[in-house]
């Protein structure tokens, strides 16, 4: 029997910076997730007063304390915040600190401080994994030679050891624009990093768009898979457009040369490319114990995506896990 708990990523409700700011919007979203069958909600790091759930200081400013926020969650039927997605390349208005690059040795100290800030809060919210954007986009960082991979490994080892002190594990998240998408790069990075301090967050949608098979990645690193995100993919970056500069805008937001309207959708979406039964079987095979967080990235109708995800969970995936 494996112990898998199911969560949902809240970022889906915030398409623009001035959306999803009011308390009643959060309450209705959390109740939607709870009723759809999810017990945890994954937060995404954000900065500034229009990101009330973005970082520990904003949570305290809005709920009085982290315990106050936890009370708010349980009042909506949500048991815990399993994980926090943290991209160091985002500035912090709370600390007046600039973006940090995991490839720059001088940024490691600042990165560790900020990661500990999130990990400490996460522990109090019942969470266990800090999901970190492992590397910058390939179009901006260029190919990763061994020296670069070693710098990445050292950075995340330092961060991982720091968060462990708070009982929180650090898991590397690879998105389809990441330079770690190149053949062998991820395996070499995991090899160089401290296996006790750095794990892997498998995002089925991002890997599929990058032309990788999530089930195969899971089987290749049975003891390093510390977090899983279920997201469907609607297209594959076959022309390697991830290598373009500013691909965050030109490719991810605008869909690249083919103007793909949506790269991602809720698990089980019409036209989805990810085989979630196969991925779930791979998790069962490696006896994965931890959270699986559903997400759809931006959706034209967040509540609908949450319900369709809940449908797949209740009808297919949860029965597979309980039967195992």
């Amino acid at each position: 029997m494996t112990d898998i708990r199911w969560g949902y990523a809240l970022n889906q409700w915030k398409p623009q910076f001035d959306d999803f700011v009011r308390r009643e919007d959060h309450e209705r979203a959390l109740k939607t997730l709870s009723i759809a069958g999810f017990e945890g909600v994954e937060l995404t790091a954000g900065t500034g007063r229009w990101e009330p759930l973005g970082n520990p200081r904003q949570l305290v400013a809005n709920f009085g304390s982290l315990a106050g926020f936890r009370e708010f969650l349980s009042g909506c039927g949500i048991a815990a915040v399993p994980s926090w997605f943290y991209d160091p390349q985002q500035r912090s208005m709370e600390h007046l600190t600039p973006p940090y690059s995991p490839l720059v040795a001088a940024d490691v100290a600042g990165n560790v401080t900020r990661a500990e800030w999130f990990a400490g809060a996460l522990a109090q919210l019942g969470g266990s994994v800090l999901v970190v954007r492992a590397a910058p986009s390939a179009g901006d960082a260029g190919p990763l030679d061994d020296a670069a991979l070693r710098r990445l490994a050292d950075c995340w080892t330092a961060v991982g050891r720091a968060t462990l002190a708070h009982g929180v594990r650090t898991a590397l998240h690879v998105d389809f624009l990441s330079s770690l998408r190149r053949p062998g790069a991820l395996d070499r990075l995991l090899g160089l990093a401290d296996p006790a301090a750095v794990g892997l967050a498998v995002d089925t949608g991002e890997l599929t768009v990058a032309g990788l098979d999530p089930a195969e990645v899971i089987r290749r690193h049975p003891d390093r898979v510390w977090h899983v995100q279920y997201k469907d993919a609607l297209a594959i970056d076959t022309d390697e457009e991830y290598l373009q500069p500013h691909a965050e805008w030109s490719v991810r937001q605008r869909g690249g040369s083919r103007e793909i309207p949506r790269w991602f959708a809720e698990p089980g979406a019409h036209g989805g490319l990810v085989d979630f039964a196969a991925v779930t079987r791979a998790l069962l095979d490696i006896r994965y114990a931890g959270w699986v967080v559903f997400e759809s990235d931006q959706s034209p109708h967040p509540a609908t995506s949450a319900l369709l995800g809940g449908y797949l969970l209740q009808r297919e995936l949860r029965p597979m896990v309980t039967a195992a």
Partner: protein, 320 residues
Amino acid sequence: MAWTKWSYMDHWVTETPQGPQPPSFNRAYMDRYIKQLSALGFKGFDTFFFYLPMLEGMYGSVKAFEHFLQDNGFEKITGIFSAYPYATKYTAPHVPETHDRIVADCMATVRAVEGLSVENFIVMPSTTYFQVEPVTDEKIKIMADLWNRVGQMTLEHGMRTTCHFEFWGAIRTREQLDLFFRYTDPRYVYFFCDTAQHTIAGVDPLQMFRDYRDRCTGFHFKDTHTVDEHEAYRTPPDPELMAPNVTRWFYEMGTEGGLVDFPALMREIVASGYDGWLTVEHDKAELGGGSYAEATCVAKWYIDNVLAEAQAEAQLEAGR
């Protein structure tokens, strides 16, 4: 054990390339809509008589649509809603000359669901108030006679004709309701309790259920923030959408400012031994930027968290 017999009344709007439309837009949207209701744990599905031909078009037959419901965790189609909100020279429940046409229409609807085990044939007993007024005892008697006839016919097909009273209908005050039920035959005409409509009309739905417990065959659980104090119910051309000072009458359970005491109603239902279906209805939930999907989630959350608690308390009290 939490109450399982919850059904959903078929109001929904979803985004399509042609703007926000009902899910009957095409088969793919209807499938997705049923999956969303299934994920919330609804077991019954009520729909309008005018959707039956569309369901036939999309699924091949109403029976085939019911199979699709059953493949998705539903038990069956639990109710059909038939109504004449607006009087015309062809159909008006308070005009005897139109009764034959209305009975024939009801017969056609009953035949369209032949072979299924639909329980409730829900009807609006009257048209808009302003087309009936002055509302005399005589007119209430005429309407009662009509629904006795229809009730007898639908019972022969296993369906109970059950009356759902709009706040803008001709039968709305407590006196009118009592008179109507006195004129109707309890074997053929039943009571369908809409919590919001009665509250808007200034009638306590809980008291109505207590007094007509034996004739009650179903509920619409929906909330309202407003009692009609400006006679919206009788202002032409339309009170439901065009009331001068109220832009939205209906809300899902669990919103701030709701007037209906649902926990008390739930305790009363458990104590009374009622074991029929309870139906959630959202009507025009998209007003003011709302969404049917989210409103239904919030309502089902309220059912599974707040009403389940009230139910448990009532069961303890009743020593069950």
